[in-house]
Symmetry: C2
Subunit: 504 residues, 2 copies
């Protein structure tokens, strides 16, 4: 028997990276542009980002943060001040050196050429991250302990000159938020770092249906200049890891370089303890790789641009108006009377006169599809199709029942995606305490993750990482006080565990 | 008698431009940065932008537009293709020529220097506007008349290397939205241009309490490459004009340069008719100059980050808890039970233990301030102060009455601001039909606007403009079919009227 035909070619099993590109294309989410390494985010993809923004922004404001906006261009002198930070980070970045173009006509071809002129005395870089420029502002804003805590977030575009771009996961320009906070004491700053780490883990679970492993990065994997980096690590369907969000406790490293100092309660001058934390459009790449299938994108309802797509079935002209009226009436009722997590439902009636509409919405990952035909108008039934079930499953339901249950159905779809991703992840994390099995594990195709007892040095970690093209994804927060076991490399007893995997 | 002391020095009458800077500073909205011509938008200013975004975005979506995101960097070749556009526009812009920094230690000083390396074969400019790069995408997306209309909007940062920056009104980097649409016919594109023009006029009136004059730009003042530019012109308190938003019908000029073509209904290949339209953070500058007074910022309630600020008066420690509890209870009721234009009220309880809180909120323009002291807790009264009334006015009102009337009060504040701005504008527009009075008018200090019969040429318009440092702000839409009068310069009978003024 031949395999059933799928909407996406190749399948995940055949070629995962190419499947990923094809899902993005089939769902019409984004495309490459002629600007090197940059993509155009199309409406269906950008709609997901808008919903991610709304959901996170509400959580940021609920935890006392305010948004602000800082310049795109960073003077080189700022990076020089923060040399450690810049060396680890900002070397591959776009540099602005001129501020004018001159149009010159080529005498031979008659074509206009644009020539950069107006060289700047001091060049600028396009922000790869904003620690330095926000730090300069904090240095002005913070004078006394009364000015603390300072809890700021920025939604912005940033740019890193990536050599191997991949849509959403790694692009030269990307969209993100970056939280930057300053505090009076180390304790308060660490509490903030942990709080925002938890906000990310909760958001990924509750909005993106992605179960993450929250943990701490080892010194090797920390953000340059951070005293502590917390991460939320997601496993996607090829068993690789994606670092979906990070939260850094920066100690007084940045505040010393940038002079964020204040007069303390006892009158002495002290340096603020700072944090930074961020997630980006990379979340959309993670989302695609976590849930989608061989028929295309699968969207959890809370981040679906349209949660319900109603498709009128109009075989005959004389019943067309009645069918359309019934579809729009249903859409209006759903929008007006039903709420999902406090928000009105997002419902589209797809009236277009084109073929293959159903499969278009399968590929775009709309959580619920509803077909209404002439007979359904009379019987007050509708044909329900769910994206978390096989694409050809249909269920005929009573319209009134559906209206009563629709939010439960959406929640069930969310829960099914979350449960499937959790089961997949748990199946693919194996505990391993001896070095021989460890080495053997990474020789498999698509190996899962390993959890090992660990108290090794950075050098030992580095050697294993290079040998197998893996990294310690994190020291999971809930595995820091385990029964003592012999460390994988040192053999010394340790209560800590490290989680290893390949990653994007 | 000496003049009453004001919170802002200088006053509007003494030095309007400096007053403007001081209002921004006193309200803690923004500040200059070390990046040339760029500002930091602080939370109180950025909050206004977030509310402007929300209000406009809803109106854009209601009119069928979808958001997308396009690259920040534009290849020079795109600008070369669109030479007319580039010459009129994009010559003063930031040019990216390198993609790497190298940290070099200065042997003598021991300091780290950053040197640009990795020169790009083709430089990029930071978008001054996105017609070219969005046009390139439209050229890929539009194949058939079925793909039209294409209705896209982008929220983004853009950059123009301004020589005389002024916070919010003219900064090198600014935030804006740019709508870009493509249509099958000229009629549809013109209808879109007018529709979005009306969206802007309505939004300014209903959210910012700014009465604009909607009109058409003369050929001299049109967007380079446009067949028609519509504008909304606001008068601010020094009687200058601010172009607050524009909507352009681009004909097929851009679609020909960028090959946005499609197979039409009859099978022939045609060029799309395109539009673009935008507003920016300049709206915030307009808002400040339109409403604020010598005590600081005045915010219309719909764009106030906090609409109501509750200030506990706690002279004695033993009644402090009761006062705070009463303040928070009121805030909770206001947030939960009252809505203004469908949105929950934005209410802050300012518990900080600092002096001068009342004046801080006056300067920040909070529409309503409420003071609650120990006696008010018992009497269930509160002390109400409105930003649209003199800063020392107080009104003691019953708490229950206030809760019943609060949305009416907010609407009244909005209406008062709108009415005052409308009256001021109408007083300062004078009809003028002879050249002698015209010349005399502009010799006054702070002249208002003149409305004149007009059918002159571009050259004649240009001569008058240069002589008096004025421009035709627009040909008002509601003055295009007036009784015939002799044109100001040609003497020929004309039904058209032109509105002249000085501008920012």
């Amino acid at each position: 028997m031949s395999a059933p035909k799928t909407a996406i070619t190749p399948t995940r099993a055949d070629d995962f990276p190419e499947w990923y590109q094809q899902v993005i294309k089939a769902a019409d989410m984004a495309e490459n542009s002629e600007t090197r390494g940059c993509m155009v985010i199309k409406p269906w993809g950008y709609g997901i980002w808008e919903l991610i923004q709304q959901g996170l922004d509400r959580r940021f404001k609920e935890t006392g943060h305010q948004n602000a906006y800082f310049p795109l261009l960073i003077p080189l002198s700022y990076l020089e001040k923060e040399a450690e930070h810049a060396e680890g980070f900002a070397t591959e970045c776009a540099v602005v050196t001129h501020h004018r173009l001159e149009a010159v006509k080529d005498e031979e071809t008659g074509k206009t050429k644009m020539i950069p002129t107006g060289e700047l005395a001091e060049p600028y870089v396009i922000r790869p991250t904003s620690e330095t420029i926000i730090g300069a502002a904090f240095s002005r804003w913070v004078q006394s302990y009364r000015d603390l805590p300072l809890l700021i977030n920025q939604w912005a575009n940033v740019m890193r000159w990536e050599m191997r771009p991949r849509m959403f996961l790694r692009t030269a320009e990307f969209l993100w938020q970056e939280g930057h906070t300053a505090h009076e004491t180390a304790e308060e700053a660490i509490e903030e770092t942990r709080k925002m780490h938890k906000v990310y883990a909760d958001f990924l679970r509750d909005h993106l249906a992605i179960p993450v492993i929250p943990g701490e990065k080892t010194e090797n994997e920390r953000f340059p200049g951070a005293d502590m980096t917390l991460t939320v690590e997601a496993m996607v369907q090829d068993k690789k890891a994606i670092q979906a969000g990070t939260s850094h406790y920066l100690g007084t490293n940045f505040s010393k370089a940038q002079d964020i100092s204040f007069t303390g309660r006892e009158g002495s001058v002290e340096h603020a303890h700072t944090t930074s934390w961020g997630v980006s459009t990379r979340l959309i790449g993670t989302l695609i790789m976590a849930h989608s299938d061989d028929d295309g994108l699968v969207l959890p309802p809370r981040v679906a641009t349209q949660q319900i797509v109603i498709i009128p079935i109009t075989p005959k002209e004389d019943t067309r108006d009645a069918v359309l009226a019934s579809c729009h009436a249903l859409a209006t009722t759903l929008r007006k009377d039903c709420k999902f997590h406090g928000e009105p439902l997002r419902v589209l009636v797809d009236e277009r006169d084109v073929k293959g509409k159903k499969w278009e919405w399968v590929k775009k990952g709309a959580p619920l599809r509803i077909e209404i035909g002439p007979r359904d108008v009379e019987s007050r039934k509708l044909c329900l199709q769910r994206r978390d079930k096989p694409s050809n499953d249909k269920e005929f339901v009573d319209k009134e029942d559906f209206l009563r249950n629709v939010t439960d159905i959406l929640q069930e779809i969310h829960d099914n995606l979350l449960n499937a991703a959790t089961a997949f992840r748990d199946e693919n994390i194996v505990e391993c305490s001896d070095l021989e099995s460890f080495h053997k594990h990474w020789k498999q195709d698509n190996p899962g993750w390993l959890l090992t007892p660990w108290c090794g040095s950075s050098a030992e970690e580095d050697a294993l990482s290079k040998e197998h093209k893996i990294t310690v994804r994190c020291l999971p927060l809930d595995k820091q006080d385990e029964p003592e076991q012999a460390c994988l490399v040192t053999g010394k007893p340790t209560k800590l565990r490290a989680l290893w995997g390949r990653s994007y």
